[in-house]
């Protein structure tokens, strides 16, 4: 008798065993109930409400006017353009600063790597608002950096660092870096050091070994990191609002303006829906480019 035949047959204790199996599955499912309730109450319902509101016009009837406004207005187009530009630039700088640093950390002994990791995590655990204001203090015209630089004669006139794109970028890169470093570091630590030795043994110079072996193997971590950074940047509010000084307007800020200044929940909701939609599309494309299991560790 083959095993499949056996499974299809009613054997002794089959019903009892099946029952136990089911019970185990339900118990396991029970563990997710609090979280599912939370997601439903705090995410599904509000987003559904948001979605509904985005179709309500000024005269309190169903209409597409909120979306039409986004589509037709040059101002909105510019805001989306700025949002993507800032997000892309932030991601790019995060990679440029973060990758070499993470590579360096991954080559250290556990002890030193942990010390470096604390250096990455302490700012990460500090309040976002505190860090943003700290940058404001440092970078403004009469701030620490400008005062010292002018005193020492590094540059003659105070440089305008904040209330523009550069200020926004400095602050955002600083705040986003850990989101790139953490997944990348986790990935790099799993790269077998013997693989690099093998590459060297087979004749690869250190540079060649890096580009042909280490870098490709670090791509899943890099990709996971930059995706997190990019998506977080798209909806970022506090830092661009404070360091951009109203000159760099991103979608999140426009949403807030729509509510606080114009009491237009419909317009704000529509913006939110569009931003959410765009983010989902990006995630979808990204998941097609790199399969999700590649983001995990391939052993």
């Amino acid at each position: 008798m083959t095993s499949t035949q056996r499974i299809n047959q009613e054997g002794i204790n089959k019903t009892e065993l099946d029952q136990l199996d089911r019970k185990e599955r339900y118990t396991l499912f029970g563990l997710t109930v609090p979280y599912l309730a939370l997601v439903f109450g705090l995410i599904i319902i509000p987003i559904g409400w948001l979605f509904y509101m985005s179709f309500i016009g000024r005269d309190e009837t169903l209409s597409l006017e909120n979306y039409q406004r986004i589509w037709n207005s040059k101002a909105y187009l510019r805001i989306f353009k700025t949002t993507f530009q800032i997000s892309l630039l932030t991601t790019l700088f995060c990679v440029l600063f973060g990758y070499p640093l993470t590579y360096f950390m991954s080559q250290l002994s556990n002890r030193w790597a942990n010390i470096c990791m604390i250096g990455v995590l302490i700012p990460f655990w500090t309040s976002l608002l505190v860090r943003t204001y700290a940058w404001l203090v440092l970078l403004q015209k009469k701030g620490l950096i400008n005062t010292l630089a002018v005193d020492w004669g590094l540059w003659a006139e105070p440089i305008k660092f904040v209330h523009n794109t550069s200020g926004t970028l400095i602050g955002m890169v600083h705040i986003m870096l850990p989101f790139l470093i953490l997944p990348l570091y986790a990935n790099m630590r799993t790269i077998d050091k013997d693989c690099l030795k093998a590459a060297a043994n087979l004749g690869a110079t250190p540079t060649r070994a890096f580009w042909t072996v280490f870098f490709p193997l670090s791509l899943p971590g890099l990709f996971a990191g930059l995706l997190i950074v990019f998506v977080l940047c798209l909806g970022f509010y506090v830092t661009p609002a404070l360091l951009g000084g109203g000159k760099v307007i991103m979608v999140a800020m426009k949403i807030s303006d729509n509510i606080e200044l114009y009491y237009s929940w419909g317009a704000a909701s529509a913006l939110g829906v569009v931003l959410l939609g765009v983010t989902m599309i990006i995630l979808f494309i990204a998941s097609k480019l790199v399969s999700i299991d590649q983001l995990g560790n391939r052993s």
Partner: protein, 358 residues
């Protein structure tokens, strides 16, 4: 795939980590085309020595020559030697073909030639047709073969192997030992092989270098090392043995108060160990000439498949209070003859099989 093998001269290699000597004045010569095994327990320094040869560990001082060329300062990527790593270190983002072709690509070999040599190497390790497989789809034994193919595809003159079979199960490991040895014979490379498995070393090697505590203890052919170990460590480490404390005075050897005949007499007086290989013992009823006899009680009798292992507690009055192990191949002694626990028995050991170590 024939190339000229190179000899390796290792001279006074010393490597310390802080106060710890990983290698201490190790000098040895690997003949060209030889299969030499570095054998030792874990932490003995055998892998460190291999890493010095590969260029991954820089010694404190000493010299390593491949042929006549001094290589101790040469970085690993310029050494042009093949190496099989313990965990294989295959590149997970490349398929079998790309893995094996990697060293050829680095050497600027043309695409057609790469294909040709990769196919040949895969054929040599009996993996032809698996070139497009991903590394993750391979079994442990297949990965081991890919690692081997990658190490020999560029026809290096020297091949290093770091416990390449340790991850395989026993049966496959024993098959691969024979296969690796045959491969070595057909490739004509100088092979340095690291293992902690003494049986593997005995099976595969032309010569074995026993390493312990960072020092070279003995360098000889497998049979010489088995038959005439230099010291107690090797006698204990290689093969099975009982080490019995004996006293030497005026060239006479005494176990308790029994005089023992030995093959090579010792000039020095003092405490020595008599090495007794369990399989060299035989059951006797009468005293024979040119033969040592031991009497004692069987305290343990263990069935081990091909043989029966007996633990014999020697007679405390005549031999001193010591345990002797004896191995009887199953099938040679009938069941009635096989002593059981509690029996008092007498066993013999030929003079030619009796030797002392310090």
């Amino acid at each position: 795939m024939k190339s000229d093998a190179l000899n390796i001269s290792i001279k006074d290699i010393t490597k310390t980590y802080g106060e710890f000597f990983a290698l201490k004045d190790v000098s040895l010569e690997v003949k060209s085309g030889e299969f030499l095994t570095l054998l030792g327990p874990s932490g003995s320094g055998k892998t460190t020595l291999l890493m010095v040869l590969a260029g991954f560990t820089r010694p404190d001082y000493g010299s390593v020559k491949f042929g006549t060329e001094e290589v101790v300062l040469k970085p690993p990527h310029l050494r042009d030697i093949g190496m099989v790593f313990q965990n294989y270190a295959l590149f997970p983002h490349m398929n079998v073909e790309q893995n094996v072709g990697y060293p050829q690509k680095l050497r600027g070999v043309s695409k057609e030639k790469i294909k040709e040599t990769v196919d040949e190497a895969l054929k040599t390790v009996k993996l032809d047709g698996l070139g497009h497989r991903g590394v993750a789809e391979l079994s442990g034994g297949q990965r081991q073969r890919v690692a081997l193919a990658r190490a020999i595809v560029f026809q290096p003159k020297i091949l290093l192997m770091d416990e390449p079979l340790s991850a395989l199960d026993k049966k496959l490991r024993e098959e691969m030992q024979i296969e690796l040895r045959q491969l070595h014979d057909s490739l004509n490379m100088t092979t340095v092989y690291v293992t902690h498995d003494q049986k593997e070393a005995l099976t595969m090697s032309d010569r074995i270098a026993v390493i312990n505590d960072g020092r070279l203890m003995q360098l000889d052919t497998p049979s010489a090392i088995y038959k005439k170990p230099n010291n107690a460590f090797i006698a204990d480490f290689i093969g099975e043995s009982s080490l019995l404390s004996v006293k030497v005075s005026k060239k006479n050897v005494y176990l308790g108060n029994t005089k023992i005949l030995v093959e090579h007499s010792v000039k020095k007086d003092g405490d020595f160990l008599l090495v007794v290989r369990p399989e060299k013992l035989f059951l006797i009823s009468d005293n024979l000439t040119d033969c040592n006899t031991f009497t004692g009680n069987v305290v343990e009798s263990i069935y081990q498949g091909e043989s029966q292992l007996l633990m014999i507690k020697l007679d405390p009055d005549s031999h001193g209070d010591q345990i002797l192990r004896m191995r009887i191949p199953n099938g040679t002694a009938s069941l009635q003859e096989l002593p059981s626990i509690g029996n008092k028995i007498t066993v013999g050991l030929k003079k030619s099989d009796s030797f002392l170590v310090e």
